[in-house]
């Protein structure tokens, strides 16, 4: 009747399943089964027609062998390949019946039931806890020991799927499951896989069952399985071994070798297609989690690279519906991303990064936490992901997580933010701070969890790293963040926290003057009267942790950084706070790094002292213009001395920028020029050149002034010019921030023989020149360019005193102050000493230029003497200056201070002759 069979409608077939006639039922069952095999549409339509309960009913109530076989097979067909089918068969309560059938005396029934069960348990819908109810566990155990390979295989697969909690694991192990499973390892490939699967499930994350498995002596069998033909068997063997290895350290010989071979096996499995290849990364992540040695080995095996090649599968896993797979995928990315190289190469793939960032919003907190750890590595500076991260709202999400009540989430979120800011540019920092807000950051710095505090401080440290603008951020909202950091330094006890906080201060102290002073106010408060000990001393004394001492010394080093203007005051304050004393004690610190930093810092202190002595004189110069002459002398010398010192320091401490630049001139380059023009135009020409004619015009005397009036006028005019010059120069003085170019001082400064020789030659020349003329006073009396002076000197006591005062006091003072104290010092700051001397001499010569009838030879000598006596460079420099300056321009520096400075003899003879020594005219 083939025609009628074919024509049977599905409704009728379903109806026939409940037929009272056994053969009709059997035929209907066969027909249904044959129609649904491999046909999803048919399966669904029969499910709709209610075929499944009828099939199960047959299984439950019939005893006829062919019926049972067919119904069991039909159940399997329904359950195969579609979740709707699995759901339908489970809903009809088929499980107990199928299990019961496994104990049926007929082999065909047993195998058909076993296959169906396997189909059901391949689905995630399969019940798990159900299997541990009542006596079912005993039944499964019994099945496990069954002589029928298919039955024991099914039982093992069921166990593998159902064993989820540690209670299950313990119950099964106690019931002797492990031994039975180990026995199954020797069976057919399928059974072996099922047994390994079950063993892996029983030992997953459970040290007790893992140890129990190791105790069964199965380890060697499992190790052999790592070389099995089936990739799945290899992977499962690795899972078991990895569980055992984690639980039982040193429990078996060559543990390390085995771990390595596990690693290489799993590494190769990544390349497999299908399920094995997808699961392998998860196993690997599990294997190397928290084991640095293994991570390094994985690196050596190039597994990471292979993993990265499998990134498509990881990307897919990130979007997998199962929570466990997503977590494993995150763990996998986390493992790969622990290498800068990978971050810069394989992890630049957006296909991985986007889904990972999206997982921060995952509904499951476990996935969030896992994604967060991976994100925190991925956002590091080397990666181009920062922009992507901002685009997809990752920062906002991180900040939300940083506010989480869950400490782990909070910690990891702050950690990720800290890494995000590592070497980040200003725009990133600003964006993050805008969303995070200062008050939240302050809360995080003072978090209840110490680990969060540490990460928050590290975040601040990265925030203020770099440019002055970066540092400025810590001063937002009345420097609330800085104060929070300072509070932590006062109260925190964990060295990790203090180290981060100290680095925050150190980074702030690398900012501008204002920033440095803000740090100063904390580490060495400016107190009136009593001197308190700096908080930094506490950390300098901490012998438990060299990192603390290093950070503290860096802080001091930045505060005493030689190129900053206010360094003198700061060094003095640091010294008052007991820091220098403490540093001196640390020259022999057991930590090399500390020792080196202390040495450098102490050199900075020393150099600052040298510089300060110079600055101090400039300041007193301002207070006492009359002391300008001597001060400008010593000032120049101290500049040189400081430079030499600094030069030596910089040789020894080349960690500073390549060239040590220091400032010695309190005037900037432009100011020197403008000041000189104002001085010459506004003071020197009106007062020195036309001063007397102005006086005579004012007094309306046509026939010249009375010598006495003239002399007094000179005193007044010169005094006025001096005061004016002092005021002018002092008002243009500025804070020390000039940068000097580096020069080679050793040439200039080594050896004094040249100076002395030159001085002797110069003096003897002057004396000889005087003696060469008839009469010692010729040189002075025949002072052909100043007959007026003679007149002044000859006309009475007042006139004489005034003239001497002008010529020997006020004028030299003025010129010293202007030309040496100001011009030369300034020039020396911007040019090398020989050029500074030559240029200043040139300027002087030009200003005091006289008609060329002067005797050139004498001027040369004077010039030589002057240069040698005052500047004390080596003779070559003096000569160079002489030939270039003195030879071309009538250099008229007066002999007065040659004598005044060194030649008492000549001075006496001049006084004796009551002759003025000054050849300068007005």
């Amino acid at each position: 009747m083939p025609a009628s069979a074919v024509c049977t409608k599905p409704e009728d077939l379903v109806e026939s399943l409940s037929s009272l006639d056994t053969s009709a039922r059997l035929k209907a069952l066969r027909d249904v089964k044959n129609q649904i095999i491999g046909n999803k549409t048919k399966k669904l339509s029969y499910i709709k027609l209610g075929a499944v309960p009828r099939v199960v009913e047959i299984l439950a109530s019939d005893t006829d062998i062919p019926l049972l076989v067919q119904s069991a097979a039909a159940v399997g067909s329904f359950a195969c390949g579609t979740d709707a089918g699995v759901k339908a068969v489970l809903d009809s309560g088929v499980l107990p019946h199928l299990l019961r059938m496994l104990s049926n005396g007929n082999n065909k029934v047993v195998e058909a039931s076993a296959r169906s069960l396997k189909m059901i348990f391949q689905s995630t819908l399969a019940p798990k806890n159900d299997m541990f109810q009542g006596r079912r566990i005993d039944l499964i155990l019994a099945l496990l020991n069954s002589g029928n390979e298919n039955v024991s295989e099914v039982a093992a697969s069921v166990l593998a799927r159902c064993c989820e909690t540690s209670e299950h694991q313990k119950a099964l192990a106690d019931a002797g499951c492990l031994q039975s499973l180990v026995f199954l390892l020797s069976g057919s490939p399928k059974r072996k896989e099922a047994a390994l699967d079950a063993l892996a499930a029983l030992t997953r994350g459970n040290p007790d069952t893992s140890a129990a498995l190791a105790a069964t002596g199965a380890v060697s069998t499992i190790i052999r399985t790592m070389k099995d033909k089936s990739p799945r068997a290899r992977l499962l063997a690795c899972m078991c071994l990895s569980n055992i290895g984690r639980a039982c350290h040193n429990n078996y010989q060559q543990e390390w070798d085995i771990r390595k071979s596990i690693l290489s096996t799993v590494g190769k499995l990544i390349d497999e297609n299908g399920q094995v290849g997808e699961e392998a990364p998860g196993v690997l992540a599990d294997l190397v989690a928290n084991n640095e040695e293994l991570q390094k080995t994985a690196f050596d095996f190039n597994i990471i690279e292979r993993l990265a090649e499998a990134q498509c599968s990881i990307a897919m896993a990130l979007g997998h519906e199962s929570e466990g797979v997503r977590i494993a995928a995150c763990a996998c990315i986390k493992s790969i991303s622990r290498s800068v190289k990978n971050l810069r190469t394989t992890l630049t793939d957006e296909r991985l990064v986007w889904p990972l960032f999206r997982l921060l919003n995952d509904p499951s907190p476990a996935v969030q936490a896992s994604a967060l750890s991976a994100v925190s590595n991925v956002v590091l500076d080397f990666t181009p992901h920062k922009a992507v991260f901002f685009q997809c709202g990752g920062v906002s999400q991180l900040i939300q997580l940083a506010l989480s009540m869950e400490p782990m989430l909070r910690l990891n979120a702050v950690w990720a933010l800290r890494n995000l800011l590592y070497l980040a540019d200003m725009s990133v920092k600003e964006k993050v701070m805008r969303e995070l807000t200062v008050s939240t950051l302050v809360d995080l710095v003072c978090d209840s969890e110490e680990m969060v505090q540490e990460q928050a401080l590290a975040f601040v440290r990265n925030l203020v790293y770099g440019s002055v603008a970066s540092v400025q951020q810590i001063f937002a909202a009345d420097a609330a963040i800085l104060h929070a950091v300072e509070r932590q330094l006062c109260v925190a006890t964990r060295p990790e926290i203090c180290t981060q906080a100290l680095y925050v201060l150190s980074n702030v102290a690398a900012g501008n003057e204002y920033h440095k002073d803000a740090v100063m106010d904390f580490v060495a408060p400016a107190l009136t009267g009593d001197r308190s000990v700096s908080i930094l001393i506490k950390f300098l004394l901490d012998m438990s942790n060299p990192q603390l001492r290093v950070a503290a010394v860096w802080c001091i080093s930045n505060l005493s950084f030689p190129e900053s203007p206010g360094v003198g005051t700061r060094v003095a304050r640091l010294r008052d706070a007991g820091i220098q004393l403490q540093l001196q004690k640390m020259f022999d610190d057991p930590c090399t790094d500390v020792k080196d930093r202390v040495k450098t810092t102490m050199e900075q202190f020393l150099c600052t002292d040298q510089m300060t002595s110079n600055t101090g004189q400039s300041v007193s110069c301002r207070l006492h213009p009359s002391a300008a002459l001597t001060l400008s002398h010593s000032s120049w010398r101290s500049v040189l001395a400081a430079r030499r010192k600094l030069y030596c320091c910089s040789n020894g401490a080349a960690n500073r920028d390549a060239k040590v630049k220091l400032r010695a001139a309190p005037w900037s380059c432009g100011v020197v020029g403008s000041t000189m023009i104002i001085y010459l135009g506004g003071l020197h020409v009106p007062l020195s050149y036309s001063g007397l004619s102005i006086v005579s015009t004012m007094l309306s005397s046509d026939c010249g002034l009375d010598p006495q009036v003239k002399a007094i006028s000179l005193v007044v005019l010169q005094s006025a010019e001096l005061c004016g010059a002092v005021w002018l120069i002092e008002s243009s003085i500025r804070q020390f921030d000039t940068r000097l170019t580096c020069m080679s001082f050793d040439q200039m400064l080594s050896g004094r023989r040249g100076c002395l020789l030159a001085a002797v030659i110069a003096l003897s020349s002057v004396i000889l020149s005087a003696l060469a003329k008839p009469g010692t006073s010729v040189y002075l009396e025949n002072n052909h360019y100043d007959p007026a002076l003679k007149e002044l000197l000859a006309s009475g006591g007042v006139s004489l005193c005034a003239t001497v005062a002008v010529c020997c006091g006020i004028t030299p003072l003025l010129e010293e102050f202007v030309y040496r104290g100001f011009v030369l010092t300034s020039l020396a700051a911007y040019a090398s000493p020989p050029w500074a001397i030559i240029t200043s001499s040139l300027i002087f010569s030009l200003v005091h230029f006289k008609a060329p009838e002067e005797t050139l030879w004498r001027d040369q000598l004077v010039s030589l003497a002057h240069l040698v006596m005052t500047e004390q460079p080596r003779a070559e420099v003096g000569k160079a200056a002489l030939w270039r300056a003195g030879d071309t321009v009538g250099h008229q520096r007066c002999v007065a201070y040659v004598e005044g400075l060194g030649c008492l003899l000549l001075l006496c003879s001049q006084l004796l002759h009551k002759e003025g020594k000054n050849k300068r005219t007005y």
Partner: protein, 197 residues
């Protein structure tokens, strides 16, 4: 070699540290020099590993600045010894290059005798390293520079000065790298930090 102590940390060997200086090529045919900037990106003293980026500016043969990524080995007699054992460097090459560093001279006898494995390098004022460039970051391999060889590096703990000699059998011998730790124009040293999870 697990008995050897690892070198104690050094302020200038921290992530984020910048170095600047020049590289010199000088041989009979040419005399060239260009500016080099280096930044440490990763440092794991425990495993003798460090890495970073190296930027070569004004290279005569290249049109744009060339940035490479390099990885380094620290000679600590624990993870790595003076003998390179790879990258076409024989022990002879090693000794020849190390000997170019004056601070290596006190060690050279011992190294030639037994590879210097007995030396306590942890307390030595210099740290010897090898830097091997791994890939070009911003340009292709045809940029005019090669990364086939590697640098023998001597790093001064005291001030972060770095000296290096490039070794590549196919390039000019003894190209010299001279770097100094830099503050990048700040009025003091600034330190960033990150930590892998």
């Amino acid at each position: 070699m697990p008995g050897q102590a690892i070198p104690p940390p050094c302020s200038f060997l921290q992530v984020g540290q910048a170095f600047t200086g020049i590289q010199n090529v000088s041989n009979s045919q040419k005399e060239e020099a260009w500016k080099v900037n280096v930044r440490l990106q990763g440092c794991d003293i425990q495993h003798g590993y460090l890495c970073g980026s190296m930027e070569a500016l004004n290279v005569p043969s290249a049109e744009t600045p060339v940035v490479t990524f390099w990885e380094g080995q620290i000679v600590d007699n624990r993870n790595y010894t003076f003998f390179t054992g790879q990258w076409d460097a024989s022990p002879d090459t090693d000794v020849k290059h190390w000997s170019k560093f004056s601070s290596f001279l006190p060690l050279s006898d011992t190294v030639e005798r037994d590879g210097g494995r007995s030396l306590d390098l942890a307390t030595y004022p210099s740290i010897f390293m090898r830097w091997k460039e791994k890939f070009f970051v911003n340009v292709g391999a045809d940029c005019g520079l090669t990364i086939a060889g590697f640098y023998y590096v001597c790093f001064s703990r005291n001030n972060g000065a770095v000296q290096g000699f490039y070794y590549d059998p196919n390039s000019s011998p003894f190209q010299k790298l001279d770097l100094k730790a830099t503050n990048e124009g700040r009025a003091g040293a600034s330190f960033a930090s990150y930590q892998f999870q």
